[in-house]
């Protein structure tokens, strides 16, 4: 290769590197697939599959499990807490309690693109997309029997504005609400874009956010009365997260941190009482190092994994079924992201 061309290539390569170092802080590395596994004891009774790391209409109230010797229908799974229940605004659907203990204003389909009411009886989006209102169902209660109100929903949205440990999509939506920035930086006492009227909460947006409905299919309202005078930044440190009270089809019954958590059907659930008698969850993250051992011992009836080695082993168990969810993730490499110490 002639020397001038070589020199030009060298210069161009250096320019690319300079651009990457100065301008790009993420580089896509590879795609990762998600797999849902189920034992042959579980029957979804026709309900579909979707992105298990988020919340979608999976119809768990209708699921059934083969009864054990005592006639009890127990579903074994993982992603129970080891030390505390993670608040549900960060990793939206990873933990089993986020999926079954907390409900949302809306519910998404498996592809997270179509929405229908859940805690909300109805919702309305203005033509310009700048105003969204949700009307709650009548008679909604938390698991402790106290009423679930629009005040709880408003408190949850305002609290989530104050903390960084909120999923970015959700965070972007709630920070698009009119007056959110003034409220979160302390220059306003309330959020001008949140209005309550009877059983209806209306959100007025300062800028258009295309993910409003997606956000409210993932954002779980919390019972405000359990967090009196809490510093929002310390919300995860509240004792509430040792045994949370939610609004979903299952309520937390027994917690032995780092051992197991049991969840039983919420008898007053608006969508009917779940057919499974008990969910027993063992602690793990979404990457469960003990998955194969527990599955082999019939102590893993449902869950998801992104570990392809686990998938192969699960498929070799004749009582397990693995369903790939067509929702590839992109893994990224972050450059110069963390400050040097």
């Amino acid at each position: 290769m002639p020397r001038p061309i070589r020199q030009r290539l060298k210069t161009a390569y250096a320019d690319i590197q300079k651009y990457e170092n100065e301008e790009l802080d993420t580089i896509p590395l590879y795609y990762q697939q998600l797999f849902i596994y189920e034992s042959n004891r579980v029957n979804r009774n026709g309900h579909g599959y979707g992105n298990e790391q988020y919340n979608y209409d999976w119809g768990i109230v209708d699921w059934t499990v083969e009864p054990d010797a005592d006639g009890k229908k127990v579903l074994y799974t993982n992603t129970a807490p080891a030390q505390f229940f993670e608040q549900p605004w960060l990793n939206l659907g990873i933990w089993i309690h986020n999926k079954v203990v907390f409900d949302h204003l809306l519910v998404a389909d498996g592809s997270l693109t179509s929405f229908s009411p859940q805690l909300a009886e109805s919702y309305n989006v203005s033509e310009d997309g700048m105003t969204v209102s949700f009307t709650l169902r009548d008679g909604l209660t938390w698991h402790d029997g106290s009423p679930l109100t629009v005040e709880d929903v408003a408190w949850s949205i305002k609290t989530a504005m104050m903390i960084p440990t909120v999923n970015p999509v959700v965070s972007n939506t709630i920070h698009s609400i009119e007056g959110a920035d003034a409220y979160s930086d302390g220059s306003a006492d309330d959020v001008s874009g949140i209005a309550l009227d009877g059983n209806t909460i209306t959100l007025t947006f300062a800028k258009l956010d295309p993910n409003v409905l997606l956000t409210f299919s993932q954002f779980a309202p919390l019972p405000a009365k359990y967090f009196p005078d809490i510093d929002p930044l310390q919300i995860q440190q509240s004792s509430f997260w040792q045994k949370p009270i939610g609004s979903g089809p299952f309520m937390v019954k027994e917690v032995k941190m780092n051992d197991f958590t049991t969840m039983v059907p919420f008898p007053d659930y608006f969508g009917g009482v779940a057919k499974i008698d008990e969910i027993v969850a063992f602690p793990s993250g979404d990457g469960d190092g003990n998955l194969l051992k527990n599955a082999g011992a019939h102590k893993a009836d449902y869950g998801f994994t992104k570990n392809t080695a686990d998938v192969s082993a699960l498929e070799d168990m004749d009582f397990m079924k693995v369903t790939p969810a067509d929702i590839p993730y992109t893994r990224m490499m972050w450059i110069n992201h963390y400050p040097m110490k």
Partner: protein
């Protein structure tokens, strides 16, 4: 003796301080902090630096390293173990939850290994050079050299997955009302944990028994016409026990620190697995407390061994 004990206790304090400082420094030198563990890189990329800083301030992470260490130390001196950074749970509550599990597992393993190790070591010594001795020696070597996680996985495969005699892991299940309900859970991890300990005790007991049996007083006992079992057990084994007790004494810290590997393999909710998770999440107060407990256990065990040695063997003079 008393002067020695007081001196040793006084030495424990600066040693514990130095070690705690080194552990804190080690944590500080690792990349990231508790906040970078709480929030995934994907999310971190879209959160402003100001909001992250606010979270750091609320968790007390904005202070310089030495100030944070000093605050932690002050709390410790006042009996305040602090709170876990990750979930705000009081550390004394976490330890109250995890320590019984670790104590249970380690105590059972310690008892198993002491009994089996001593019995097999004595048999090996009494049958020196025989096939039994050779088999036990080789078995002991294998026990010491094969990693315990391997034994653990093989045991799970055979006894839990194939034979289904024992549970695959964990300590408790819903509906357990008594200790007997969860006894099957402790058997496998305790036996696996005791394998390496048994092998060590056995080899130690064998060599000290052989040493004791070669002493003049054993010959004297035999010449007096005492039955062989009396000579071996009352005269030989009693003396051979001293170094074995020292070895077991040095293993006492495992009662507090737990077995990190075995707890992970068997999903045992003890201090060891909690320590791993606390290090991963850079939960400084929790890591420091567990590390400090382990350090104190090691130092105390070392002191106890010295005292026991002096009590058992009159030739040892601790004051000199």
């Amino acid at each position: 003796m008393l002067t020695y004990v007081i001196r040793r206790i006084l030495i424990l304090i600066p040693m514990a301080l130095i070690i705690s400082f080194l552990v804190y420094l080690g944590l500080e030198l690792t990349p990231g902090d508790a906040v970078s563990h709480m929030i995934s890189p994907e999310m971190m990329a879209s959160i402003s630096a100001e909001r992250l800083d606010a979270l750091r301030v609320s968790l007390g992470l904005e202070q310089p390293f030495i100030v944070r260490y000093w605050i932690w130390l002050q709390g410790m001196l006042q009996g305040n173990f602090g709170y876990s950074t990750a979930g705000g749970v009081a550390i004394h509550a976490i330890l109250a939850d995890r320590l019984p599990a670790t104590l249970e597992l380690s105590a059972v393993a310690l008892v198993f290994s002491t009994i089996f190790g001593c019995v097999l070591g004595v048999i090996s010594a009494l049958k020196r050079g025989s096939t039994t001795d050779n088999v036990l020696t080789v078995t002991g070597m294998l026990g010491v050299s094969i990693p315990e996680f391997f034994f653990g996985l093989v045991a799970i495969l055979i006894f839990a997955l194939k034979l289904q005699w024992l549970p695959v892991g964990g300590r408790l299940l819903p509906g357990y009302d008594s200790y007997w309900d969860h006894l099957p859970h402790v058997i496998m991890p305790a036996l696996v944990l005791s394998i390496m300990m048994t092998a060590g005790v056995m080899r130690y007991a064998r060599s000290s028994m052989l040493d004791a049996l070669s002493k003049e007083y054993i010959k004297t006992a035999r010449s007096k016409g005492l039955p062989e079992w009396r000579v071996n057990l009352l005269h030989g084994f009693r003396v051979a026990l001293t170094p074995v007790i020292v070895l077991i004494g040095f293993r006492l810290p495992v009662l507090i620190g737990g077995s990190v590997i075995i707890e992970q393999v068997f999903q045992w909710p003890g201090v060891g697995s909690e320590f791993i998770s606390a290090v991963r999440s850079q939960d400084y107060p929790l890591v420091m407390m567990i590390a400090l407990l382990s350090v104190m256990a090691v130092l105390t065990a070392s002191l106890l061994v010295d005292i026991l040695t002096a009590l058992i063997d009159p030739r040892v003079r601790l004051d000199k």
